[in-house]
């Protein structure tokens, strides 16, 4: 299929790029606006947009304001010491960002996680996905000027933060998933509390739909805005909800099921329109599906057993390399780890969804209106800190 669409897409994209570079210098009508890093609508991220009237003719992303050099830092620390700093890029979703790291390290070190441990860390990562998505939704609400939609998800996020607090002892940056399983077993009464909170949360999702997704003003602002076609989505290599909103039902949990996800019964939620509305609605559907997965995880979890494989304090990875992925709140999150047989990794590359989705930002913004900028930008599920790493 790739053969017949490829040339025209390629031409189109190159042409667009050429127009951007020429237009910036020649025309006097253009106004260059800086969005970020201290703009209320950007996070720790800067991109410049050049507007001609109300239309954006050029967009240049400029990430790196929160670059920590995680990949370099990894080379100086052993496999266990890397955990706390690796979860800093996404403190809400820290279970997921450590999940694929743990999978890759387990492959290199050669250990197997006990079955109960697999269930618990899948549960933790689902809870973290909810926490992240709710936070994302809250910011999307305030970006569109809907202050109520900022407050409700922020409040309901507390349901899951509460659970993570009981499970791991920390509200964010849990350091819970580690190579070899999880740090501790679930506490008493956790299962009932979890089921109670999920049941309440599903009721709340209906309210979100009422006040936000079905609101005609919200529909007007997002429907038909920033359309990313299926071919463009594939070609640009976007991931996560952005990809699924463009009609590609791709989820790492289905494509490459890790741990216990092949026993779970869930559907990959996707939409075909590829506009801002679809990109904002797919995470919402994912949240519903995630509740479903969490119920199954709690149901099928073995009642007792080990949760953590014994790991020596300073494990050495066998020489070689591993590339493992999980589906995080923002799409596929992969770690490429090269080990040279020492306790420290030789090279760690983090392939994050935010960085991969950033390429769609100039693609979508060029030609759209300045007023569409927040709705397009944040619908890309972009987390600046994670993209900078």
């Amino acid at each position: 299929m790739a053969k017949n669409v490829e040339p025209e897409i390629e031409d189109d994209l190159n042409k667009k790029l050429a127009i951007q570079i020429v237009k910036e210098s020649e025309d006097d009508r253009l106004m260059r606006l800086s969005v970020g890093p201290q703009h209320p609508g950007s996070g720790h991220f800067r991109f410049t947009v050049t507007v001609d009237g109300d239309y954006i003719v050029h967009c240049d992303p400029d990430p790196g304001y929160v670059h920590r050099g995680e990949e370099k830092m990894c080379e100086y620390r052993n496999f266990i010491q890397n955990i706390p700093h690796l979860e800093r890029p996404v403190i809400h979703d820290s279970s997921n960002i450590i999940y694929s790291y743990s999978l890759a390290v387990e492959q290199l070190v050669g250990i197997e996680v006990p079955r109960r441990g697999q269930f618990i860390r899948a549960l933790a990562s689902e809870l973290d996905r909810q926490i992240y998505t709710l936070y994302w939704l809250a910011i999307y609400g305030i970006f569109l000027g809907h202050s109520t939609m900022f407050m409700w998800p922020t409040a309901d996020r507390e349901l899951f933060i509460d659970l993570m607090d009981a499970l791991t002892g920390a509200r964010v940056t849990h350091a819970f998933n580690i190579p070899g399983g999880v740090r501790n077993d679930i506490p008493d009464g956790f299962k009932d509390k979890c089921l109670r909170n999920i049941a309440y949360f599903e009721k709340r999702l209906k309210e979100y739909e009422d006040i936000f997704y079905n609101n005609p003003l919200f529909r007007q602002r997002t429907e038909g805005v920033g359309i990313l076609t299926k071919d463009d989505a594939i070609n640009l290599g976007v991931t996560g909800s952005v990809l699924r909103a463009s009609g590609v039902p791709y989820d790492v949990r289905k494509a490459e099921p890790y741990d216990v996800y092949n026993e779970m019964d869930f559907k990959v939620q996707y939409m075909k329109s590829g506009d801002s509305f679809a990109r904002s609605y797919v995470p919402f559907l994912d949240m519903k599906e995630s509740c479903h997965i969490m119920r199954q995880l709690l149901d099928k979890m073995p009642d007792s057993g080990e949760v953590r494989a014994k790991l020596q304090p300073n494990p050495k990875g066998a020489p070689g390399e591993a590339y493992r992925r999980v589906e995080s709140g923002r799409g596929a999150l992969g770690y490429y780890i090269v080990s040279d047989g020492t306790p420290k990794p030789y090279r760690v590359k983090i392939s994050v969804g935010s960085f991969r989705n950033m390429i769609a930002l100039p693609h979508l913004l060029v030609g759209s209106k300045l007023a569409d900028m927040p709705s397009v930008y944040w619908s890309l599920n972009y987390w600046p800190v994670e993209a900078d790493r």
Partner: protein, 174 residues
């Protein structure tokens, strides 16, 4: 596996009416806010602990540490565990004589640096270092954030007793 989600596309009037209904419904729902200094959350367990024999932690809140002087051997494993993470733990001399601690050194923790990951607790093989519920560690100076072994030995008092309640009128704290 593949299905098109129903977007519940509604006309703008009924969508607006639903918004109004949902908004006015929430005027009757209980508030969610935790009034923090007056109310404090109740935590599970008695702080994060670790069982070196089984190799598994015990769930609990990760606040500041508690150090049991009668068990600490001055083996520095906690300081080594912290080395690449926060470098918050330093070993200092104490004026105490314990027969298991010949060198009389014990960890001193700088909470200006600690990230509360609890990996030092995992590293302690002698049940000497646990974590507690106490998370209110702010102070005016950086020096006050450095907790000496004597300060770490004190068990903090934490009296949080508010739990998240879910009822017909929504979720609320207390």
């Amino acid at each position: 596996m593949k299905r098109i989600p129903s977007t519940a596309a509604t006309s703008s009037a009924s969508g607006m009416l639903k918004s109004i209904e949902s908004g006015s419904k929430h005027l009757l729902i209980k508030r969610f806010t935790l009034r923090y200094p007056d109310q404090k959350l109740k935590f599970t367990g008695d702080g994060y602990q670790f069982d070196p024999k089984r190799g598994v932690g015990i769930a609990g809140s990760r606040g500041r540490h508690i150090l049991f002087h009668d068990k600490c051997t001055g083996c520095q494993l906690c300081a080594i565990a912290c080395e690449g993470i926060a470098e918050a733990i330093g070993m200092v001399k104490v004026d105490e004589q314990w027969k298991q601690n010949k060198k009389s050194i014990m960890p001193q923790i700088d909470y200006g640096k600690c990230v509360f990951c609890g990996l030092c607790v995992d590293a302690c093989p002698f049940y000497a270092l646990y974590m507690t519920d106490d998370y209110e560690l702010s102070s005016f100076t950086k020096e006050h954030l450095i907790y000496t072994p004597a300060q770490l030995a004190i068990k903090p008092k934490y009296d949080g007793n508010v739990e998240l309640k879910i009822g017909d009128m929504g979720a609320t704290h207390g």
